[in-house]
Amino acid sequence: MIEIIIFVLGIAVLLYVLLGGADFGAGIVELATGKKGINTISKAIAPVWEANHIWLILAVVILFNGFPRVFTTLTIYLHIPLFIVLVGIVFRGTAFTFRYYDIQQDNTQKHYTRIFRISSLLTPFFLGITLGAIILGNIPANVNGTFYEVFISPWLNLFTFTTGIFVTLLFGWLASIYLIGEAHDDKSYQTFAKTARIFFVSLILSGLSVFLVAEIYGLHLFMKFSQSLLAIGCVTLATVVIPLLWINVNRRNVLQTRLLAGIQTACIIAGWFAVQFPVMIFISGGSDLTVWNSQAPERTISLLVDALIVGILIILPAFAYLFKVFKFDNKGDEATN
């Protein structure tokens, strides 16, 4: 039973990174490309961002329903970065919508644009910081301690900083890959392809630095990865995919490119999962919260499973329809909305 929940949670995280991440990344790409991509970006994310955003809500709901202690541990000790994430989500969502829907186009759009871009950068960074704090294991077992020890140091350190950068670059890279497919003229295609390359190289470098910094903190990620068959498989697959991905980018095969980028991201998340499972949050002192010791009572779990299965049977066809309408047929593109 619990395995199904963990699986859906993993899928929700993956889809949030792929879809929601690409939406945030679009703002980061805008920062990089400036005015050039702005129309493509607006049109590409306007119809889908709300739906993409709900994967995060699903993950939160699964956590507080199925693993209440995991949820409350995160919200107590990582209050500050999570709050910043929330502020980022609010600013980005509203600034984007205000920009897109303002009936008169004048100077005010500039301000929305600035807010949209900055919050698109800030949110993934602090999501990454949160992720780093979960892995690092500096979260204390109780609130006895100074404010700094309990509420700051678990998430504010070099390791979480590098994971923050990594997630930001990942989102930016996903967005550029995704936007390549949305580009309708040569020039914007070139822009996005170039951005994608730059993000990719930086992403690899930042991934390496996560591993290196982990050594400083005694996390031994290299060792953990090499001990898990699943993790080795993920790393291998992700590497094999790299040349295929770039061939497809150059040939402008939109669907294949996106699929391969999706596989790579799935590999990253599955690899993380492989070294982490069954721990959900590492706690300093070793009393980690695991899938087993933090799950809700059986009746709750079985009802949650029912809800997830029914939900997925309803949602997936609906999602497929949404993407079919907006992503795979390009008729009616001249209409603004």
């Binding site: 119809p47 949820f71 919200t75 509203t94 949650l304 939900g311 999602f319």
Partner: protein, 440 residues
């Protein structure tokens, strides 16, 4: 500022903000659906214009609703972790079902707002209906979770731990039906009166404009029904509260002493120290009837509750009076409308009627906010009624006033922006809407 106070205020600000967008998100899809359906049926361009004009505004409201809802789902843990640690497993279920409803809503919304030129008219119309249905369903699920806080069930509380958890029983608690019914009607009443009021204002400035006249008609056709039903549903709620949360009812009515029979107090200022109401209008026996359906029934007063467990009486009392006043105003308007409809039709185009509608623009939302204050403040000091005190649920993190300031500032700014954008939208659409919409 005290951390506990800051946490409560932050929760309050977040809900007071979100609920407005939630009401609009539940109701506007239905109005757009009707406009579009009429367009398909009659072929009159004005209905299509209306559906398009509304859609432009609704997109903005939905975005704000979605992000403020996300804030709430995190705040449950950020502010009340000790509550969520116990409640998560018990009432997470309606939230997990709500997740499905949100997905459907967001997906259908994408098709409805952006897919007009990509899907058939029929599919477009259906997507509008799905948004409306999913919105109402998600509202019902959250309110069921809230009703559980008022009427906790589906678990045994032993030594500060929940045992024998049954989420089904928890969701279908004794308060869920009354609250969900009352809330759903409230969403329609508040949004429809606001929409009617805005279009009435435009109609006053541009006489004989068919666009605004049709808008008023559609909005009122829902709004009137809701306004007439709402006090009836409120009566059901009050009877339920009288049984489940006697202290809340006593606070609503400022009934300090248990009485048999009890009189209804209208208006008045509760004096908590001396335990009496000053300047109120007392109607003998009416409270007994309203609370228990019997003019001579005993109604429990605050004296049966330890003073330290009293909710803040004046706040609950005033909020309740405001809600009821607004409700009666709207109901009266609804009945007047029906009378005019049957007999003196010409009145519906008179200036005074339109001015009246303009005046009623905010009343539904005022009632919604007041009603939630009755419900939430009236439950204090409990976060789970009779089980857990709000004070014991608050986060151990100090310095909560800072996130409270930030959230408050952001929501004030967003409110200003949304008003400003709507004003731009409405002004632009009323002067040259055909021009703008033909580009859509």
């Amino acid at each position: 500022m005290d951390d506990f106070l800051a946490a409560r205020l932050q929760m309050t600000v977040s809900f007071v903000f979100h609920i407005v967008y939630a009401c609009i998100g539940m109701t506007m899809p239905w109005l757009m659906f009707v406009a579009e359906w009429k367009w398909i049926k009659t072929g009159q361009q004005v209905y299509l214009d209306l559906a398009k004009a509304w859609a432009r505004g609704v997109a903005i409201f939905f975005a704000v609703g979605a992000v403020s809802g996300t804030v709430l789902s995190f705040e449950l843990g950020l502010l009340w972790p000790n509550f969520m640690e116990h409640a998560g497993a018990i009432i997470g279920m309606p939230f997990s079902w709500e997740g499905t409803a949100f997905f459907l809503e967001a997906i259908a919304l994408g098709v409805f707002l952006y897919g007009r030129n990509r899907v058939s008219n029929r599919m477009h119309l259906i997507s509008g209906l799905v948004v409306g249905i999913a919105g109402v369903i998600s509202g019902i699920f959250v309110v069921a979770a809230n009703a559980w806080m008022n009427s906790p069930s589906g678990f045994d509380w032993i030594n500060g731990q929940a045992n024998n958890i049954d989420p089904m029983k928890a969701m279908f608690n004794k308060a869920w039906f009354q609250q969900a019914l009352h809330m759903t009607i409230a969403a329609f009443a508040s949004t429809c009166f606001a929409v009617a009021g805005i279009h009435a204002y435009m109609l006053l400035r541009h006489k004989d404009n068919d666009f605004h006249r049709k808008a008023i008609r559609i909005a009122l056709s829902f709004g009137i029904v809701a306004a007439i039903l709402q006090p009836l549903s409120g009566d059901l709620s009050a009877k339920n509260v009288a049984i489940l949360q006697p202290a809340k009812l006593a606070a609503m009515e400022s009934l300090f002493k248990t009485s048999e029979p009890a009189s209804l107090v209208i208006g008045g200022i509760p004096n908590v120290k001396e335990e009496k109401v000053e300047y109120g209008l007392h109607i003998p026996k009416l409270l007994s009837f309203l609370a228990h359906g019997d003019f001579n029934a005993e109604v429990q007063g605050l004296d049966k509750t330890k003073k330290e467990d009293w909710p803040p009486v004046p706040i609950v009392h005033f909020a309740f009076q405001i809600m009821v006043l607004m409700g009666l105003l709207m109901m009266g308007t609804g009945i007047l409308f029906l009378i005019f409809k049957i007999k003196w039709k010409e009145n519906l185009d008179r200036k005074w009627w339109l001015i009246w509608l303009v005046g009623l623009t905010p009343v539904g939302f005022i009632a919604v906010e007041a009603g939630w204050i009755v419900t939430e403040v009236g439950r204090q000091p409990w976060i789970i009624y009779g089980i857990m005190k709000t004070r014991d649920a608050v986060t151990p993190m100090p310095g909560i006033q800072y996130p409270f300031y930030v959230i408050t500032l952001i929501y004030i700014l967003l409110t200003i922006f949304v008003f400003w954008l709507m004003k731009r939208q409405i002004l632009a659409i009323q002067t040259n809407y055909q021009d703008i919409l033909s580009h859509d």
